[in-house]
């Protein structure tokens, strides 16, 4: 899948970066576990707040 590094930020302060597959998986897991919701892949990608081609895909998830 895409190699661009994407950033998704939740209103609760949680955020994740990575490639498309990574941010989708991490965001769906955060939504399911923390917020009792399961966004679709398209819904996650619609939430991307930044494409950062300069960043690596290994930044991971915080907090």
């Amino acid at each position: 899948m895409g190699r661009k590094t994407l950033l998704v930020r939740c209103a609760c302060g949680w955020e994740t970066t990575g490639n498309e597959d990574e941010v989708v998986a991490a965001t769906q897991e955060h939504g399911r576990r923390i917020h009792n919701m399961l966004p679709t892949r398209d819904e996650v990608l619609a939430m991307v707040v930044r494409d950062d081609p300069a960043a690596t895909a290994t930044e991971g998830t915080k907090p």
């Binding site: 998704v8 930020r9 955020e15 576990r33 923390i34 009792n36 919701m37």
Partner: protein
């Protein structure tokens, strides 16, 4: 005690707003996976709100001492059910935590809801609710050790304090 604007947020017409409270010494503090910010859960059409909150808190934080619905309001295009969840200090771990300040309540009109309700006012109302339950409800009272009841005593209306 704020949420980050923009980005992704919980959707749905009914949501739970969880305030995880613990006793740090003699001081009540807010914590949770979102730190001191409100922890928002989506509630599905067939979900029982208390069950969802209890299950999610157990999964993410650990076994709660009390889960109690304390108020509701309409906000952000949804009905939001507010919960106070009491946990023991050893569950806080690395979660961010902040002392709880006092606020005046958001007062309703005789037949109308308050025009605005701040998060701190929801917490204030929740803790006053818990203080009342600590006096009135034997289940809640049994779950709250004396230091908790002492901390909540400041949230009890003055005429009620002597009844404890």
């Amino acid at each position: 005690m704020t949420r980050t604007p923009g980005g992704w947020d919980v959707d749905g017409p009914i949501r739970a707003e969880v305030f995880v409270v613990w006793l740090n010494g003699d001081r009540l503090e807010l914590t949770g996976p979102c730190g001191a910010a409100p922890w928002i859960l989506e509630l599905g059409a067939t979900d029982h709100p208390v069950e969802v909150v209890d299950r999610t808190v157990r999964d993410v934080v650990g076994e709660p001492r009390l889960v109690h619905s304390t108020s509701w309001r309409r906000d952000r295009d949804a009905v939001i059910l507010s919960f106070v969840v009491v946990i023991d200090g050893e569950l806080v771990g690395s979660m961010e935590s902040q002392p709880i300040g006092r606020r005046e309540l958001a007062r309703s009109g005789a037949t109308a809801a308050p025009r605005e309700i701040a998060t701190e006012q929801v917490v204030e109302h929740g803790l006053r609710h818990m203080a009342w339950l600590a006096q009135d409800d034997p289940v809640v009272r049994a779950e709250l050790p004396v230091p908790w009841r002492d901390a909540l005593a400041g949230y009890t209306p003055e005429p009620f304090r002597s009844l404890g």
